[in-house]
Symmetry: C2
């Protein structure tokens, strides 16, 4: 039985799967071969398209001719996600040995649109570069008194939970899974890595609620993962210890996983934030993080599950007066000594930068230093530090830079890509309609990390908006990350944000805090000396070539200069500008660019739906207000401190 | 029937009314003459003391001899609070024409202790300088999501309310009223001036809960007041307007007051925060604050009630870039044009300084500029900006400076003194046991504004602790306000606090905010130019003599220099030190003084109760940590900005 396509609730934006995107398939004759649940999903998709546009869909041995053949060549048990694609003699053929491959092949055809049905195409094998492409939802079950329903969420409530309960709106979850499958995402963690009291119980007596979500996502090839607390044996199991080497603890976890597996046969595994920002972990028992992760890995192993163990471990109670501690060093210092000790299904999940999702950071040196450990790189789609989905900030170029940097390394790469979700129950899914581009781009980059992000954006625009507003949307989005970078914290220094909520500027907001996030600006200069020669030594954590580049202020790239070096305001950048003049210039430029983008958006009225246009136009007002606030605070701060006037005499307060 | 003395709940600190304080009366023979409820209160007090210590109390025509005669000479209807006091021929005599006068005379004897029963004393009339001596409780009925049960409360929950309901612990409220009467306070407003949804209903269907509190406070001569929302006719009355000149609105208020008066015959009146920090007010209807206040005054007038109308009106959405607006000017600019327009029972309640209860501010020029308006001066006993009852900070000297400044003015003075309460359900009433001194001192200064605060403190110490630890307590408390001033924001500049909760340093925390609280520090200097010649003109709001003093940096007192002037770091103070060296010196001194105070406190173990000693010792740990944090942040900030090294080469980070 073909599985019906999920129906979007009234008023919810179709994102990159509008009805229009299915016209090329829906007007044609399609044959589907094979059996199994995901084949029925594909059949339901094609049938829905044909019902709408007058095409036809047949199964198995039906007589042709066909414009499109989608064929599962094996039994479907094959876990491969690859598919073959070719076109000849007027017929487009997708073949796959695994059911998920067929699903991805189908969406490949959707993405190609009419281009899938013209000309010839040689047989080509498409397969994802990374086996796991996961979204981590920082969704709380209960509303957290400070963090709310979704921690760092800027898109309304959670798709899964509301005020302590499962929402039970599974049709919307199915529609969500469909969007994710269409861009290649195959795993979702359904709750916040900060596991509070209510959320802890998802692992045990509330696993049924997780199973319902898993059931809704499964038809689109998505496995469900769960964030758990390391202290679960104590808080849920009534033990007096969570020591990973304690037999009763190991037994408790084994039993817990067995029960989870009964409820969710294809359960993906756990995500764990341990010994991090106050969460419990193995340190309390004198055990290593490998001990902790491996204990959970052992419990999951019989069922093919994985533990994602986050490497975000640092001292968040640092004394700002202590110049010997450097938070940027922490993940490397903690985990490199453990390389080789992690089980095969214990995945170390490492944030892409050494700090915390700033608009500009160097790539974490840990990622290239763990030859004998399975790694997941974690990106942040939710725009915590990049405008909180009130600012346009397409992160594709940033992510692509990170992935290419890693692709160019000699050392081992990584096997998985994870992003913190930017999705909520907002009608546009992501709050800011244009933030959908980040979600889509993440999925496509996770499938092919060396893909051209501009091409991905183009694909997203075509699917979501059609070709009419494409030039305008590129103008608004292409440079938006660099625009955001320009009007916020300069030259890689980071963290000049309001403490707590992290929106808007506060240059000294984290300067005298325990969080390890300092810029050390004084009347003479600014930046953090992380060189080996005179600083914290962080630069020395990189392989030789990059260590040398970062070690000296002369060779360090401009955009990371203040991350690695404390320099005088008069220091001349490679661009030829002084640091102080660069600060002024980029802040004026950034606002001007945002203003220009808002004008472009204005001109797109009539080319995009009124709902999208109105929402984005409204958000641009806030973006411009905020960008000007950033410009003026940053410029005023540095003028007051440096005393150096702007060479162009512009207004600085 | 003598009214029994309220029984303190187990573990609650007796504050300045320990049993011991009643021994001088309790061991003697007392005659009480007169009748009425407050006479019964006094009789109950004396009877309780005699029961404990073996003395004797008689009524009216009983035969002598007596050591003490307490006589109500009139019917008790006299509203006078005055009492006569004399001693001769072995007998101490207190006479009063009003019942409250007798009560205050009784507590006068308590405060005198044994000294009331030795020697001779000429007949003297004691009467309060100010008719109304009020505590405003910023207590919420429901727990506010940000502000909690008590807004800016640092002493646990509320005595009156808990989680949306009346606590109903009226015995504790009675004990509270007794403490207040013993230091001369005669009015209490029982809820927060920010009137939220639940709290609004105290005026109507929940007035019974207020009446219960009023009933508990009445036997100690305390009238109860209520904070109301100006929008009450809309939110409670179902009208579509709260326009003070609208007949239906006036009618609604008249009816509401009539019903309040039925429940509370001696109801004191309303406290209103209107058009202030988001609260509704007459501006919405194009009416003046006099229109608003007079409408409420008219409703209260038939019952002898008063409206306290707060003058805390300013633009809390200021643009920090706008140097033409000065929050310090706001109250004067708003209210001076209305002088003479307020009804006789409409009291304008003015904060003592022009900003908001900083550790050092000049006295508000508004207070001396309203010849034709009844004024209440508002102090803040709750230590919002003065250490939040985790730091020892006895505010007596600050308040005394303010009151003496006002006493020295030629213009009209003020008729009432109000303090924001520092009391909660904490066993020590005020969280920090030594913060009780602020509550006591407020009451005594409200009775006699020109009293020597050191004498009041001495009185408080003798009552609360006896004479043993007196020298030590003076050492800890006498200079504590100046110590706190030294290690926090320098030279009157104010507001270098963490935004929101206002605890701990953040030099730039309010520098780029909409709150109108700036210091304008740059690499060359710091401070706000409020002169007439080159600044905001605020200095010109004072009468000529003070306007001239404040106008120039040369004549401005050191401690207010940065409030009135922006000066270079090298500016030489009257003390002979430069501004920058003053900043360094005072911050090192302040911490050293706090450390010395902590050592003195340590030495008092054995001289104060173990419970008090332990609580204060624990709080000193936090005070020292916080004081060092203040020292280091402020010094680092100004060293980084000025580049001027400390002349003594001490450690600055």
């Amino acid at each position: 039985m073909p599985r019906p396509v999920p129906v979007l609730p009234e008023g919810v934006d179709p994102a990159w799967l509008p009805v229009r995107a299915f016209r090329p398939i829906g007007t044609r004759r399609t044959l589907i071969r094979g059996s199994g649940p995901l084949v029925e999903t594909v059949h339901g998709e094609v049938a829905e398209a044909c019902a709408r546009f007058g095409g036809r869909v047949e199964r198995d041995a039906a007589p042709g001719p066909f414009d499109l053949v989608l064929e599962l060549t094996g039994s479907g048990d094959d876990s491969s996600e690859a598919f073959g694609y070719e076109r000849g003699r007027g017929c487009t053929t997708v073949t796959a040995t695994g059911a998920r491959g067929l699903l991805y092949g189908f969406f490949h055809v959707v993405r190609l649109g009419e281009a899938a049905f013209v000309g010839e195409a040689q047989q080509a094998l498409h397969e994802p570069a990374l086996a796991l492409r996961m979204l981590d939802h920082w969704d709380n079950v209960a509303v957290h008194p400070v963090m709310g329903q979704v921690e760092r969420g800027y898109a309304g409530g959670s798709l899964f939970w509301a005020a302590g309960r499962a929402r039970g709106e599974l049709e919307r979850v199915r529609a969500y899974g469909r969007l994710l499958a269409a861009c290649g995402i195959n795993a979702v963690a359904v709750n916040n890595v900060n596991v509070h009291e209510v959320e802890a119980r998802l692992l045990t007596d509330r696993i049924g609620e997780v199973a319902d979500i898993a059931g809704a996502l499964r038809p689109y090839g998505i496995r469900t993962h769960l964030s758990v607390t390391f202290a679960a044996p104590i808080v849920l199991g009534g033990l007096e210890t969570a020591d990973p080497l304690d037999g009763r603890v190991r037994e408790w976890w084994a039993g817990a996983v067995a029960r989870v597996h009964e409820a969710i046969p294809d359960f993906g595994g756990f995500v764990v934030k341990a010994d991090s920002e106050g969460q419990p972990g193995p340190f309390a028992y004198g055990r290593t993080h490998a001990d902790g992760a491996n204990m959970l890995a052992a419990a999951l192993e019989p069922y093919g599950g994985t533990v994602h163990w986050r490497a975000f471990v640092y001292d968040h109670r640092q004394d700002w007066r202590d110049r010997t501690t450097d938070r940027a060093r922490a993940a490397y210092d903690h985990f490199v000594p453990l390389d080789g000790e992690f089980a095969a299904n214990a995945v170390l999940q490492v944030k892409h930068g050494p700090m915390d999702f700033q608009v500009r950071e160097p790539v974490s040196p840990l990622i290239s230093a763990m030859s004998h450990t399975t790694l997941a790189v974690e990106l942040q789609a939710t725009q915590e530090y990049t405008g909180q989905q009130r600012h346009v900030c397409w992160l594709g170029p940033m992510w692509s830079e990170v992935l290419r940097f890693l692709g160019d390394q000699e050392g081992p790469a990584f096997e998985e890509l994870v992003a913190v979700s930017n999705v909520g129950d907002d009608p546009f899914w992501t709050g800011h309609p244009l933030a959908q581009a980040n979600l889509y781009t993440f999925g496509r980059l996770a499938w092919q990390p060396d893909a051209d992000p501009g091409g991905i954006l183009d694909e997203w625009i075509r699917l979501s908006f059609g070709t009419g507003p494409a030039a305008g949307l590129h103008a608004v989005l292409d440079g938006s990350w660099r625009t955001y970078e320009k009007y916020t914290a300069p030259l890689g220094v980071g963290f000049m944000v309001q403490p707590g909520h992290h929106y808007g500027p506060s240059v000294d907001g984290y300067e005298y805090s325990p969080w390890g996030t300092y810029h050390f600006a004084d009347r003479d200069g600014v930046g953090v000396d992380r060189s080996v020669a005179s600083g914290t030594g962080y630069a020395g954590q990189y392989a030789k070539a990059w260590a040398e580049v970062y070690e000296s202020a002369e060779s360090c790239p401009d955009e990371l200069l203040l991350f690695f070096h404390h320099v005088p305001y008069g220091h001349v950048l490679k661009s030829g500008r002084t640091v102080i003049q660069h600060i002024y210039d980029t802040h004026f430029e950034g606002v001007a660019e945002a203003e220009a983008a808002a004008r472009v958006w204005e001109s797109l009225a009539g080319l995009v739906t009124p709902a999208r246009h109105a929402r984005v136009a409204e958000l641009f007002e806030e973006q411009l207000r905020s960008a000007r606030e950033w410009r003026d605070q940053i410029n005023s701060y540095f003028l007051r401190k440096s005393g150096v006037p702007d060479a162009e005499g512009r207004v600085i307060y």
